[in-house]
Each structure stands twice: as C-alpha cells, then as structure tokens.
C-alpha cells in the first residue's frame, strides 16, 4: 500500500518517534471509547425504551453500519489526514462525551426519542468509522504493511475487550452512565490534545487546540455537574427502565417496568408496584365493603389507575361506581392502554363505572349523591394543594355524601414512619363528626402502610370478605387493626385548611426518615 501513492501531507513521515507511540496508544483509546459509546447508547435505549434485545440489536446494528459509512467516507479525505483525525477526535469527544447526559435530558422533552437516539448513534458511528482508516493511513510509513494491520487491529480488539469488561463491571455501577460518557469523552479529547501538542511546532494548530480545550472544559463541567444533570433528567432517577413518561397539566406520570414488575410514579412518588399492589388495594377496599350491608353506590376519590375500582367491581352487590380523578390523561391511559387496562381488569371501562375528571376538592362541595362506601385514595400530602384533600372541611363534605350506614376509608401514609401524620387523619375525620378507626398492612414496596376507616357509627369488627382474596382473610383482617406501641395512637392536631398541620408534619416525619 505504501507504494501506491506519495503521502499527501508529508509532515508525519518526519515526525518524532513519540508520535508513533501516541498514535498506537490512541488506537487503543479510540477503540475503547468507540465501544463504550455503543454500549452506552444500547443500555440507555433499553433503559428508557424497554425491550433490551431489540434496543441492543438495533443500536449495535446501526452503529456498525454507520462505522462502515465512516470507513467508506474516509476515501474522500485526500490530504492532511492527521488534521482530520484530530478534528474527528474532538467531535467524537463532544458527541460521545455528552451522549448519555444528552439522551437523558432529551428523553422527556422530545416528541420522538428514537430520532434523537439513532441520529446520535449514526453520527458517532460515522466518526468512529473514520478513525481506523485514517490512523492506518497516517501510520503507513512507520510500519511494514503486515505489522501495521496487525498492530492496529490488535490494539483495536484489545480496546474492545477493555471496554466490554469495564462497562458492566466498573463503569455503570461505579460511575453511572452520565459520568461514563464524560470520562470517555475526556479520553478522546485527550488524544486530540496530545497529538496537537506534538504537532505544535510543525503545523498551525491554534484553532483546533482552542476547540479541543472548549470541549475539554465542557466535559469537565459536565462531569462535575453530573449529579445536577441526573436530577434534571429525572428518567435516570428511577431504579427501573422507564416505559412511559408524560407531563400532564397536573402531574408527571412515569411508568417503569423491570421484568414482570410494573410501577407507576406520580411526580416521582411510587403509587403502586404490580408485585404487591393487591395487598394495598385489598386492604383499601375490602374492610370497607365487608362492613357495608348493601354497597350499591360506591365513590372513589383519586385512584385514577383503576386498581381500587377493580376490587370494588368484583363485588356483585355494587351497582354503580363513581370515580373522581383530577387528571383525564391518567384515567384515559389506564382505560385505553391494553397492558394497563389488564392490570385493573378493565375497571375504568366497565358499564358500572362513571369516571369524573375534576378536582375532588371542588367536586365534593357541589356533589349531591349518597354513597354506601367511599374510598379515598389520594397521593400523600406532600404539598399544600394535596393537603387540602385531608382537611376537616373536606371530610365534612365527604361525611355529607356518606349514607347513614356507609363506611369510608382514607389511605393515610405510613403509621410507622409518620405516626403523627397518620393519626392526624383520624383526628381530622373525628373533628368532622365521624367515628374513625385505624388499620394498617404491610406492602413491601411501601413498607408498613396505614388506612383510616370512618363512619357515622363506630365501625365494628364484623366483616364479610369474599372468597379468593390473596391477602385478606378474617384473621389477617382482624390483625390489621392491632397497633404495636411504635405505631400506637397519639394526640395530634386537626388538619384544617388554614393550618395544614398534616403537610407540615408529613414533611417533617418523612424528612427525618429519608435523612
């Protein structure tokens, strides 16, 4: 090959021996970096889009093809191979270094994430594909062709081995994906800067050096700010692959899945995990329905996932369910998306179901019905706006809607983590003129979880449970009403619109627990 044509640049053949060493090391580096970017893209894609076989397969295929395109395009580099190589390195450093952070940040804001993902994979692939042909051409006067091919490919494959071992064993667990990207971007730009320093005496490198330093600075800044980026890119915040994420005017809905475990998060707070939600929903629903002689009319406040409704509709005595949830996107999602509707047994589409999309705080004030059972399943009182749904004023309206022999229940946070908050719900229901009784259940993904039952008359012990429940039996139901000392009732203030005592104690108790 060396015989075919004279070198176009001509500078490299007189370059010092150190350049050859740097160039061979850079083969190792660029090979490692190239594979790391490929692995990052594949992992990110399966993490964000689910279905890892498909994602890895398509990402790797696209990447390899793009490398082929890059190799092909290398023939159009007719002169100054070294200069082009340095620029390619700088570009790869910028794109590859920011790839993970960029994809995380882009995921929630772009319409079609795949376009961003594959666009980036193709761009990096093309650039990486340019690297080896250019290096071979640069080094062609330094080694016999036989040695050259051997050297380059050996380093290339060693780099691949290093990357593929480091990536799952060290990089992802230790650094995380965002930092890994930045670290390897730094390696790429390091190669570029080393070459520029060596070439400094013989070529004008000012512009390239400036560009390299800018990229270096941006990568260092990204590395330092990786935690912030992680926080902004909330997707990376979930422990499991995200399969759905959407911002509605009211909240951020995120659904994740790992294996069989599907989870719903609202504003980052776990709402259910399919592994154990039956425990939660059986405990929410059946102690109430089992204490009502004839639950014809049932009201569910919150619970837009339809899981509580699923339990309610199992009861043939129930004639009609009204479910009030703020967010139409939530109830539409759990009614129309087959995989989610399967979870709630199609409860939201049932002919016995009436879904009202509205603010429950306003709805209860103008509602006129009478309900035999009311299930209140709102998110935890993390904000003042949500705290309004746990106030004496709100419960007074709810009490008005509760039939004389009706029973209601309220999901009321953890009596173990936040006992004062938990018992505030009971105190508040009592201030609204109801008789309240607490009970709790163990739900592994939440921990020890509390509910508060209330009625116009003190709720009794007698309960009728249907056959076929997975969690509740007569004995386990009875046990739920027993509170050991660490969760025992204690005096609390009444939560009112004008003191929001619950929001404050909730923040304090959970803040202490979370550290």
């Amino acid at each position: 090959m060396a015989e075919q044509e004279a070198p176009a640049g001509g500078a490299e053949d007189r370059a010092p021996a150190s350049l050859a060493v740097i160039l061979l090391v850079s083969v190792l580096v660029v090979a490692t970096c190239g594979l790391v970017y490929e692995l990052l893209a594949g992992t990110l894609a399966s993490y964000l889009l689910g279905d890892s076989v498909t994602q890895f397969s398509t990402v790797i295929g696209t990447y390899l093809f793009a490398m082929g395109v890059g190799s092909y395009l290398s023939r159009h580099v007719r002169s100054n191979e070294m200069g082009v190589f340095v620029r390619v390195e700088i570009l790869i450093a910028a794109l590859g270094g920011w790839s993970a952070a960029g994809l995380f940040l882009l995921f929630p804001v772009v319409e079609d994430f795949r376009i961003a993902l594959y666009g980036l994979v193709v761009a990096i692939g093309v650039l990486v594909g340019l690297e080896i042909p250019l290096l071979i051409r640069i080094l062609r006067y330094r080694f016999a062709f036989r040695d050259l091919v051997s050297n380059v490919l050996t380093y290339d494959y060693i780099g691949a081995l290093i990357a593929s071992l480091l990536f799952p064993l060290v990089l992802v667990p230790r650094l995380g994906m965002i930092r890994t990207g930045f670290v390897f971007g730094l390696a790429n730009v390091g190669v570029a800067i080393a070459l520029l320093v060596v070439l400094r005496g013989r070529q004008r490198v000012g512009g390239d050096l400036l560009a390299a330093l800018v990229v270096l600075a941006s990568l260092l800044a990204g590395l330092a700010g990786a935690d912030h980026i992680l926080r902004w890119s909330e997707v990376a915040f979930y422990g499991e692959p995200v399969i759905y994420a959407r911002s509605t005017p009211y909240q951020r809905i995120v659904i994740t899945r790992r294996g069989e475990d599907l989870r719903l998060y609202l504003n980052g707070n776990l709402q259910f995990s399919t592994r154990d939600e039956y425990r939660y929903h059986e405990a929410l629903v059946w102690p109430v329905l089992g204490r009502v002689a004839n639950p014809r009319e049932v009201l569910i406040l919150g619970g837009g996932d339809g899981l509580a409704a699923r339990e309610v509709l199992k009861d043939p005595r129930v004639g009609h369910v009204t479910l009030v949830d703020l967010d139409p996107e939530m109830t539409h999602l759990f009614r129309d998306e087959p995989s989610l509707a399967r979870l709630n047994g199609g409860s939201l589409g049932s002919p016995r179901m009436q879904v009202v999309n509205g603010d429950a705080f306003r709805w209860v004030r103008q509602a006129r019905g009478r309900y035999d059972a009311i299930l209140i399943d709102f998110p935890d009182p993390t904000e003042f706006s949500l705290g309004k749904l746990y106030t004496e004023s709100f419960y007074r309206e709810v009490a008005r809607l509760l039939g004389p022999a009706g029973v209601l229940t309220v999901q009321s946070t953890s009596p173990l983590v936040a006992p004062r908050s938990y018992w505030t719900v009971a105190s508040t229901l009592e201030a609204a003129g109801l008789k309240a009784r607490g009970y709790h259940a163990y739900v592994p993904s939440f921990g020890e979880w509390g509910f508060t039952m209330a009625a116009h008359q003190p709720p009794g012990d007698a309960v009728r449970l249907p056959a076929g429940l997975r969690f509740l039996t007569q004995a386990s139901e009875r046990a739920m009403f027993d509170f050991p000392p660490d969760m025992a009732r204690r005096p609390t203030p009444v939560n009112r619109l004008d003191n929001q005592a619950l929001v404050r104690s909730f923040a304090e108790e959970w803040g202490r627990y979370d550290g």
């Binding site: 929630p108 804001v109 319409e111 912030h228 926080r231 902004w232 909330e234 959407r246 911002s247 509605t248 005017p249 009211y250 909240q251 951020r252 703020l326 603010d359 429950a360 705080f361 306003r362 004030r365 904000e383 003042f384 706006s385 949500l386 705290g387 309004k388 749904l389 106030t391 004496e392 004023s393 009112r496 619109l497 004008d498 003191n499 929001q500 929001v503």
Partner: protein, 538 residues
Amino acid sequence: MAEPTRRQVLKGAAAGAGALALPGCTPTTFPGTLGGADWQRGHRVRDGGFPAPQGQAEDAAIVIAGGGAAGLAAAWRLKDAGYSDFVLLELEDTVGGNARSGRNAVSAYPLGAHYLPVPNREAHALRHMLQGFGMIVGEADGAPVYDPYQLCADLEERLLWRGSWQEGLYPASGLTADDIAQRDRFYREMADFRQGVGSDGKPAFAIPRAYSSNDPRFTSLDGMTFAHWLDGRGFTSPVLRAYLRYCCRDDYGTEPERISAWAGVHYFAGRRGWAAGGDGDRELTWPEGNGRLASLMGKAVAPHIRSGQSVFSVVREGDSGALVTAFDHAAGVSRQWRARTVIMAMPHFVAARVAPAETVKGALRYAPWVVANVTVNRQPRGRGSALAWDNVSTGSDSLGYVVATHQSGSAGDGPTVLTWYMALSREEPAQSRKLLATRPLAEWQRIVADDLLAMNPDLAGAIERIDVWRWGHAMVSPAPGFLSDPARLAAIAAKPPLLFAHSDLSGLSLFEEAHYRGVVAAEAALAHLGHPFESLGA
C-alpha cells in the same frame, strides 16, 4: 396544549437558567387589555360640559351617589332595615369601586382590593353582614365561627429573600443580632399599642377608626411621619425598615416618609380580629378578592342600582332635601332626582366638584396603583417554600402577587391567574398619574412580566396574557395631620339632608372603614326620615 406540556417538563432549574440567559426569549407583548376607572367619565365631572337636565325630577327619599364599597354598604344597610325608597347612582357600568373584579376562562380575579381581615369586635355592622352572606357560619365559645372555605387557606404568605422563598413576610435568615433585637422590640411596642386604652376608655387603635381613642397620648403620633417616628425610636434596622416600607405601600400606597405615624402604628396595632378557634388573625379571601363582597352587596340591592350615571351636581334645597343631577351615559341625557336625603358615597376630591358648597378644602392625597392580572398556564414554584396565596419579593419594587385559585381548588399545578400589585409611590402622585394615563399597555406588560420572571424564572414561557388595570386615585393616603384634616372632619360632621360616606372620612382606605361609613350614613338617613330601625351599633 402539547407545546406547554412539553415545555413544562423542563424542570424549574433548566427553565430558569434559560430565562436568565435569554431574556430576549420572553415575548415583549402579550395578549391583554388596558383598563381602569373610567377616566373620561371621571374627568368630565371635573371639566363639566354636561347637557342641561331633561324632564321632571324623579323623587326618591334617598339617593346614594356612588356605588363603591361605602355606597353599597349604605344601600345594604337600608335594605337590611327594610327600607326601599332609594336609588344608587354609579358612574361606572358596574358597581364595586376598588372591590371590582374580573373573570376569564381560568378564574375570577380581583382588580383591586382582595381580602378582608377577620373584623374586630367593634365592627358590629360588618359582622352582621358577613353572617347574612354565609361567611360567619356559627358561634363557638361566644365568638363567631368563620367559614373555613373563605378563610385564607394555608400557606398564606411567602417571601423571596436571598434567593429562596420562605414562609411569612418577615425575613427569617441572615439577620444580625441588632436586626433581631429591633424586630422584637418593634413587635413588643406594637403589642403594647394594640392593648393600649386611652383616657377616654377607648382602645388606642380601632377598626373602624372612629372607635379609636382621642387621647393625645396616641393622636399626637399624627403630628409626624411614620419614618420620623421610627427614627426617633431607634428603629433603624434596614431589614425592619424594608418590611415596614412594604407594609405602608401595601395598605396605604405610600412611603413611610409620607404617612402619619398614627396610621403607621394603626397598621400593626389596629387589628384585634375576633373569631372562635384562634382564627382572629386570619383573612377572608376569594378568587375575585373583595369583588365577592361587592357582588353580594350589589345583588342584595340590585333593583335600586342605576349604573352609568355620572352624578355631576348635588345642590342642597334648604333642610328639606337636595337636587341631584346626573348624566346618563347610555341615553346621553342628564336627569334629576329630588331627594330628601343624599348620601355622597364618593371620594372627597370628586365630592368637592359635585357639591362644592358642601365640602371644605383639605389636604387629602391619593395614591395611584397598577394592578395586573397575569394568566399563566402553570402555577409558580421556586426554591424553598411552596407557593402561597400572597407572594412577595424583597428584591422587587412591586408588592408581589396573589394567586386567584388559592382558595378554590386542590390541583397542585395547572393554570391560574396571578394578581400583581404595584403602588406607584416613588414619584409624586400627580407625576405617577400622568404615567398611568400615557404609558402604553405593552410597556406595562413588559414591566409586569420582567418583575414576575425575576421572582419566578420558572414561569418562563408560562404567561398567556397580562391584563393591566390602572387606578389613578386608588386610595387615600393618611398623611401627617390627617386626623384633624378639615375636609375629613367636615364630611363626618355633615347632617341630613346631605351626608357623606366614604373611607376618605376615616382617612384609611380599608373595606371596614368604607362599610362603617356607609352604615353610619344610612342610619343617619333613616333616622332623618323617621324610619324605625335597630342601630347596628355604628
């Protein structure tokens, strides 16, 4: 909807950084309207040129000239006493005055006054009205129980201080030992004033003001400015003074250097709200602000209201009554009413033009305000404390914003209307009024948007429209000497057939004062006409 939703997920910090880095990205004009008290009608009363009255004068036992809070309160009082031979003439097309409100698809919102503190024990008539309006719902331990839905919900106030929002309006961090000592001493002295009783056995500071003691120990405060009094008492802490300046501008529209020390102390020492369950220090508020009170009063007397009527002349006819001439804007003609009693429920500067023979010249001054209602497609957030009803920034010359949907819903996000307030107290009122008359809508909108985005960079891209409302004479400013202002005293002393009812008579632009003056005038008119009634203790 897709666009804002997408943008919404850019978390606050990212959006904030964008807003700071790219101020040019905030559109310079927004949809919106430029409104305000009808100046053309108002100035025509000043400049004259109305046609001569047509037809026979109509007879009415009582004519109430003016449908702001005082005029409406007078009408409400007459109705409440079972009296119905009266008309209320209002210059604008809708009654309510400062308590008017607006409404769009997102929410109702105030155009001016937006809350009523739980009234003091001495405000009998007001409490009677609140009971009738369902705002007082019962009694517990001998004290009135207020409807919790109408009391301002927690969180009531937050302050942007040193880059982060905190609860309450007084800075809680970064204070020097001296700041803290002065603050505590100030509160102690105000608590003493609040409990103070004069040699006449009356509370030192009361609401309505008329119940306050005339003991010179307290009234002598009217001889100096609030700033002067603070200086003399050694209240020099910049944090304290900034807070007090905010309070003066918020309640009086004026700087501490321009208000009477009596009024300054009254702000802190006058309120002893009386309610069961520890609600005495709370406020009643509604999405439309005091528009709720105005519309309930207006509804109660609706058949008596004639709007779009510029009363431009009131002439006494001996002791038997007065002749009221008004221009009907819809019909384009002037008409007359012959009344046995006239209640002049208008600010003093207007009354002086309508009935020059009946008023005395005084030194009352009025503060100009701008109120902007900003419709946003998502609720403001910010570092630190969560969104409150009233949100104030120490770094802004505005008085901050209140959230119209604070009371009405529990949706933590979603669209709302922010009512933004600015007292134009830096310049002389006349200069500021000129600004009000000439500055175009787009410029006001830019000022409002810049101020709001400085407080809440998270609102970048969330502003949908800005409706600006101008108040040339928003409120009377209680300058030193206001307690003995001859204009005020003459109006208070007026006897039938010509009475005055306006918060100007108190010198403090508070709903309680306007209501009290309306009730007093109405009862004086009823007594004059021989209609039996049980006084509401006014």
